[in-house]
Point group: C2
Chain length 105, copies 2
Amino acid sequence: MTDDDRVFKALADPSRRFLLDLLFARDGRTLTELESELEMTRFGVAKHLRVLEEAGLVVVRRSGREKLHFLNPIPIRQIHDRWIDKFTEQHVTALIDLKHTLEES
Amino acid sequence: MTDDDRVFKALADPSRRFLLDLLFARDGRTLTELESELEMTRFGVAKHLRVLEEAGLVVVRRSGREKLHFLNPIPIRQIHDRWIDKFTEQHVTALIDLKHTLEES
DNA sequence: AAGTTAGGTGACCATTTGGTCACCTGTCAA
DNA sequence: TTGACAGGTGACCAAATGGTCACCTAACTT
């Protein structure tokens, strides 16, 4: 399996995306802490975190018996750069900003 | 199934990512034209294109009996914005640019 | 009108994937 | 040092996914 295969497969599951959302909101959480936010057993969450880790979307640091999880944004940016060139990026961000502006009013 | 579920599921398959690569290189191709680039039957390719279309990653325009396919970058940008804030974006792009600079030398 | 070309549909099968469980290792606290 | 706590492993099962095929419709060509 290639690197980018791992990244996209990892992102394909809603529980894993929710874990990334949690880490985006606040980094450095343990398995047990993350587990309490999902309706799933610890084993399920651990399995998902491992998939995210192997994809490089999450990096971990051990601290005693705890394992702290951090979000790594680099693979996400690389997805962006694969299909959006600098020129297109300007148009797309302008469109999305416009959409937000309209939704606020 | 939610919208973003469709997008991520669509991106999870290497053949579909390759189709996006092809459309990124050149837009507006037909099924038959795309089919010739993959080692797969027409039915397989058609199925993949439908998944991409339902995810909004590809938009189509009919022209007689032909169906032209175009890449839509907006969902890709939204993935980026979900986990990379403006502040982090600066660091990440700087890191990636640095990586490219180093690799050239 | 007849043949050809572009594309669509529903069924089918092999493989992968998400989630759980029984059981195990390592670390901290009283 | 004994128990509680944080996490890991391998097997297992139900459900989803990738790909093919037989068969179909619609549009262009001569």
